[in-house]
């Protein structure tokens, strides 16, 4: 099928490497003392220290675990309800008002309530990530299911498939590529929200370690974690792309536009 093995273009690295060298040179020339900035060499050193003492590993696992758990929880509910609403006009009309009023609530605005219910820790963070991931999956899977080619449904009816077989063999595979796009979108949101909750005070994960480094005036560690977060987010997305391609094969990779 698409076979998009785009070769890595090394020219893309010119600007970031140039920037790092310039920053290093500037730091050495001026010998800056700052609570916001740090020389790239100091950042690397701080990262190395945090890596060796286990801080990075521990924090990364915490952030990734909460993101994934929240994502899976939100995606499961979002998918279930989204498919249901996509299949049934009645259910869709019944739920529309509730969805449109709940959806605009920023997930992080629920931190106070979640704190009351769960206290600090994993459960509170997971619940907020799940809330944030729920909506895009719900909305997009509803649209994906409602947009399945009517001719395919007719084919399935003419072949004599029952309701469940029709959903399993036609509706879900047909909607899968769009649902996967929704999942990747929600995954990005999950990571953002998890780190936000940690920065807002939940004492776990990369976000919390960043805010801790900032408050203890260690900009080099703060910046090291920031760069690391970028790498983690990128790797997370690559993993999802990979699993989309290899776990679901051509079904997930067919072109979305018609």
């Amino acid at each position: 099928m698409s076979g998009q093995t785009t070769r890595f273009d090394w020219r893309g690295l010119v600007i970031p490497i140039g920037f790092v060298i310039a920053a290093e040179l500037a730091a050495r020339a001026t010998g800056w003392e700052s609570t916001m900035l740090a020389a790239p060499s100091d950042i690397v050193a701080a990262f190395w220290t945090a890596l060796v003492d286990g801080t990075v590993l521990h924090a990364t696992l915490a952030t990734l675990a909460t993101s994934l758990a929240g994502l899976c929880l939100g995606a499961a509910f979002g998918l279930l309800i989204g498919v249901l609403l996509g299949l049934s006009r009645t259910a869709d009309r019944l739920m529309e008002f509730s969805i449109e009023t709940l959806r605009p609530i920023p997930a992080v605005a629920l931190i106070p309530i979640a704190l009351l219910v769960f206290g600090f820790g994993f459960r509170m963070e997971i619940s907020i990530v799940a809330f944030a991931a729920f909506w895009p999956i719900l909305i997009l899977s509803r649209a994906a299911v409602a947009g399945v080619e009517p001719r395919l449904i007719q084919v399935a009816r003419a072949l004599g498939f029952g309701h469940l077989a029709r959903i399993w063999k036609i509706v879900l595979p047909a909607a899968l590529p769009r649902i996967f796009v929704a999942f990747r979108l929600a995954a990005g949101i999950a990571l953002i929200v998890a780190v936000t909750v940690e920065i807002a005070g939940n004492p776990i994960g990369l976000g919390y370690n960043m805010i801790l480094a900032q408050q203890t005036l260690r900009p080099e560690l703060m910046l090291a974690l920031l760069v690391w977060l970028g790498i983690v987010g990128w790797a997370f997305n690559q993993f999802l792309l990979w699993s989309q391609k290899y776990l679901f094969g051509p079904a997930a990779m067919i072109r979305i536009e018609r």
């Binding site: 099928m1 395919l152 084919v155 399935a156 009816r157 003419a158 072949l159 004599g160 063999k169 067919i254």
Partner: protein, 260 residues
């Protein structure tokens, strides 16, 4: 309207059938019996309810008035011995399944055991000349091959009736003629009853035992022609016969009159 019933055992019978969709009359007073093994072509201008007629026969639509029977029993829904070939093969095939997988869909619907599927699929692919393309996805096949694949999927149902809704309307002339002959040979070999909707008058005559012309607003039958051209038919000699040309002329006059 002239009595359209002919001798022979009726397999599908429309008895004074009306159809309205959303309050709009689509078909009115449809009366026709399709005999077992008959090849019935239906022509008419677009919007005359040809497709609705086919959907009624398939059990995908229910009539607003009158009754439709299949083999003497009321039609209550789709049944597996009736297969439909849609015009838009690009939409009717599952894009995420290979040619093999698309044919397998029909066998899954029939609950054919997994062990038997492979041989059935191989036979069908061979029949329609797609054996070399078994592992390809629909979007890797040409239009003609896709339509062949859809026909193979229908044949996997071992249907007694083939309902074909302008199946070759989107294909080029050469492919279309090749597929016309394939459908004729399939019908002859399996003894299937065929209801063939088309807007191509020559195609209707070339394929059919009988051609019915429809008139729109609401859709109803205008005229029926028995086609007595000898079988097997041939793209050159059949189309050159004086009866063929005469029928074409008559049918053309009817359709032209109807379109005003």
């Amino acid at each position: 309207m002239a009595e359209l019933r002919q001798n022979g055992e009726a397999l599908i019978a429309f008895d004074n059938v009306d159809l309205s969709l959303g309050g709009k009359p689509i078909l009115a007073g449809i009366d026709v019996s399709i005999r077992k093994g008959e090849f019935l072509s239906v022509v008419g201008p677009s919007g005359c309810g040809k497709t609705s007629l086919l959907n009624l026969a398939a059990g995908l639509l229910m009539p607003s008035g009158g009754r439709i029977t299949y083999d003497g029993k009321m039609v209550a829904g789709p049944r597996q011995e009736i297969a439909i070939v849609f015009q838009d093969y690009g939409k009717a095939l599952l894009p995420w399944r290979t040619a093999t997988g698309n044919i397998a869909l029909a066998l899954e619907a029939m609950n054919v055991p997994k062990a038997e599927r492979e041989t059935r699929i191989a036979e069908l692919l061979d029949l329609i000349g797609l054996s070399e393309h078994a592992a390809k996805f629909p979007n890797q096949l040409s239009g003609g091959m896709q339509q062949r694949l859809q026909i193979a999927r229908c044949l996997a149902q071992s249907p007694k009736v083939l309902l074909m809704d302008e199946p070759f309307g989107a294909l080029d002339a050469m492919t279309r003629q090749a597929l016309q002959d394939e459908v004729l040979s399939i019908a002859a070999r399996t003894g299937a009853t065929v209801l063939f909707i088309t807007h191509d008058l020559e195609e209707a005559i070339y394929l059919g035992d009988r051609v019915i012309a429809m008139r729109p607003n609401p859709g109803r039958f205008e005229a029926s022609f028995a086609i007595e051209l000898p079988r097997p038919r041939d793209q050159l000699t059949t189309r050159e016969r004086p009866e063929f040309l005469k029928l074409r002329r008559e049918l053309f006059d009817v359709v032209k009159e109807v379109e005003h």
